[in-house]
Amino acid sequence: MSRFIKVAAAASAAVLALAACGGGGDDSSSTGSSGGGATVTDAQVEAALQKGGTLTVWAWEPTLKDVVTKFQQKYPTVKVDLVNAGTGDKQYTALQNAIAAGKGVPDVGQIEYYALPQFAIGKALTDLNSYGAEALKADFNPGPWNSVNSGGGVYGLPMDSGPMALFYNKEVFDKHKIEVPKTWTEYLEAARKLHKADPKAYITNDTGDAGLTTSLIWQAGGKPYQVDGTNVTINFNDAGSQEFVKVWQTLISEKLLAPISSWSDQWFQGMGNGSIATVATGAWMPANFVTSAPAGKGKWRAAELPQWTAGANASAENGGSALSIMEKGANKELAYGFLKYANDGDGVQVRVDGGAFPATSKTLADPKWLGDEFEYFGGQKANEIFAKSAQNVVTGWSYLPFQVYSNSVFNDTVGKAYVSNTTLADGLKAWQDQSAKYGNEQGFTVK
């Protein structure tokens, strides 16, 4: 029992995390609620930067460290305290605890796009419209910019993005004379051919990944989530979701997917030794290849994501995150100065040089960046493929305002399709029901 109590007590702070700081219901207001209506001008931000002070930034993005160093050189009176409070979920938990406790809240936090609406609707984040963020719209790619917009407010500046690409092991493909698939149907064929030729080799790994599933449905044109304020619709019966189900169900049924979870040691081993032949994921992946699957160096290449309709060029985002200013942060003007520097100003180049994938349109059009040759990909100019993918991201996608929860029960529901006779379609239906139940319990109107 004591462990229960400990959990309950430790988490007690998290309790009122989101709604405690808001409570009200008018989330759809487009004017934003921060700053008491007073708009903060660039001059005021600049003044704050010159005046200096201390900023606490919670982020796990590795290249931010260099950005902070450069930032402090430029603004010597500002001291940035960069804290790695965990990756993803772990940081969100810590963040929610701090928000509920009302102290220890950082000024700036890194938040993934899929989690952003949840924090925005809980009024944990500052609407940057009152800082004139709307004017920066043209600086960013439409995909990431769309992701930081929620209910009419701008709740962060995009830091990186993950336009999807298909990474494949060319050596394996060549060995078995398999063509790089242009469509998902061809991908399925390639999966069969490869596994038949070498029973130890799989086209890819998958043990049920909410991020991948939603991204592929996104690419297929599916829009299972419709969010209008607190009115939410979840429907995995639309055409895009069905396209995905058709191909993926076959991959599962014919046991063509390696039962290895992404980000495990086995995953990287598999990429190095050729037993996992492709990975469809965001353009931020290359740095991970280099550090975690060094054995694959020179063997891998990037290609455009296979298409659901032959001849199309649709893409989707997978991952990516923004820097947001906490509503309860102390020094918001200074924080905004940092955000602009890191995500829109000089900091962008620092991060790109460090291997991050940018969200700014200027970088994506930069010939020098486009011409970068990736040693890991045998000298391939992979950024050209990524940049193209970034421009072809299907518009109109939105995540649930409680996606963090929803993703956490993905394996309870859809995961069953990977280990039992449950079909993928039934799994998605169960996921839909479970998410809807939670949404309704949380005060949304979910249909």
Binding site: V7, A8, A11, S12, V15, I121, S264, Y405, K416, G443
Partner: protein, 300 residues
């Protein structure tokens, strides 16, 4: 709680009430209230509210409890640890008893070596143990996978949904046999040697000595070990939490009541409901443990 009761009587005999007793037990009571009672009270307090993303915090009375009692996910978790309890605990305690009796028999060569090596798994941190076993269980790159490759066979995957509970039981048995063995062994140590001598004179064999002297003598220890194991089973958390990284589809977020409470808190921010689950589970554990204690010590 026994302390203040024991200290109180002298004070009540006087006409003038004296608080001297409280001065002695006060420091203890403060710490007790702070670290034992306050968290429980706080958990109960939390469980009476419901905080929502939209609409904020509100008092809901016993709604969370009504919901918990009707929650199929919660009950499936309770059922799972119940099954675990009924199967794993007897196996583990039987093995521990066997080892303790073997060590106590004095006929074992290298007794202290066995004692230490059987106890050793308990000294391995639970998280490390789960990670280690997870690696052994891996049918792709783990020991099972290596065996399959080397011998050209296909062993059943210990991480598949139908076997995962047994696999977890194997880990906890491995960990706790040594711990329980130590409890039994130390209880056996205090049995007066003269009893064995008289038994031998009466012509009793080893089996008879075990049945008529050793087992009755350590009955208290058996009951205690059983109660500890029951509580441990209901608290099952580390192993599923760690193995979930390897078998995300076999271990659900409501695999055990403890893990369910954890998931509710940290993935869904449903702290209030989680607190209600915790309280219900505490009550269930107390009832089961109490029943076992009553039965176990009936004619002691």
């Amino acid at each position: 709680m026994a302390v203040p009761l024991a200290a109180a009587p002298p004070a009540t005999r006087r006409a003038r009430r004296s608080y001297r007793g409280w001065q002695f037990v006060g420091p203890f009571m403060i710490v007790f209230a702070l670290v034992f009672l306050a968290p429980i009270v706080y958990a109960i307090y939390l469980s009476l509210y419901r905080n929502r993303l939209i609409g904020g915090n509100a008092f809901v009375g016993l709604d969370n409890y009504t919901q918990a009692l009707q929650d199929p996910q919660f009950w499936s978790g309770v059922g799972r640890v119940g099954l675990f309890l009924v199967v794993q605990v007897p196996i583990m305690l039987f093995l521990a008893l066997l080892v303790a009796l073997a060590l106590d028999s004095g006929r074992l060569y290298g007794k202290s070596f066995f004692r230490v090596s059987i106890f050793l798994p308990y000294a391995v941190p639970a998280v490390v143990a789960a990670l280690m076993w997870g690696f052994i269980y891996g049918s792709q790159f783990g020991l099972i996978g290596n065996l399959n490759d080397a011998l050209g066979i296909t062993l059943p995957d210990p991480l598949k949904p139908s076997l995962i509970l047994a696999s977890i039981g194997n880990i906890t048995t491995w960990t706790f046999v040594g711990y329980n063995m130590l409890i039994f062994y130390s209880a056996l140590q205090v049995v007066p040697k003269s009893l064995y001598e008289s038994a031998a004179i009466d012509g009793a064999g080893q089996v008879r000595i075990i049945r008529s002297i050793k087992l009755p003598a350590i009955r208290g220890a058996l009951v205690i070990a059983t109660i500890f194991s029951i509580i441990g089973s209901f608290q099952l958390f580390n192993e599923p939490a760690i193995l979930r990284n390897l078998a995300p589809n076999a271990i659900t977020t409501y695999f055990t009541p403890n893990f369910y409470a954890y998931s509710l808190t940290f993935s869904g921010q449903q702290i209030n409901y989680s607190a209600a689950i915790a309280v219900v589970m505490a009550v269930i554990t107390m009832i089961v443990a109490y029943v076992v204690q009553l039965r176990g010590t009936k004619d002691l």
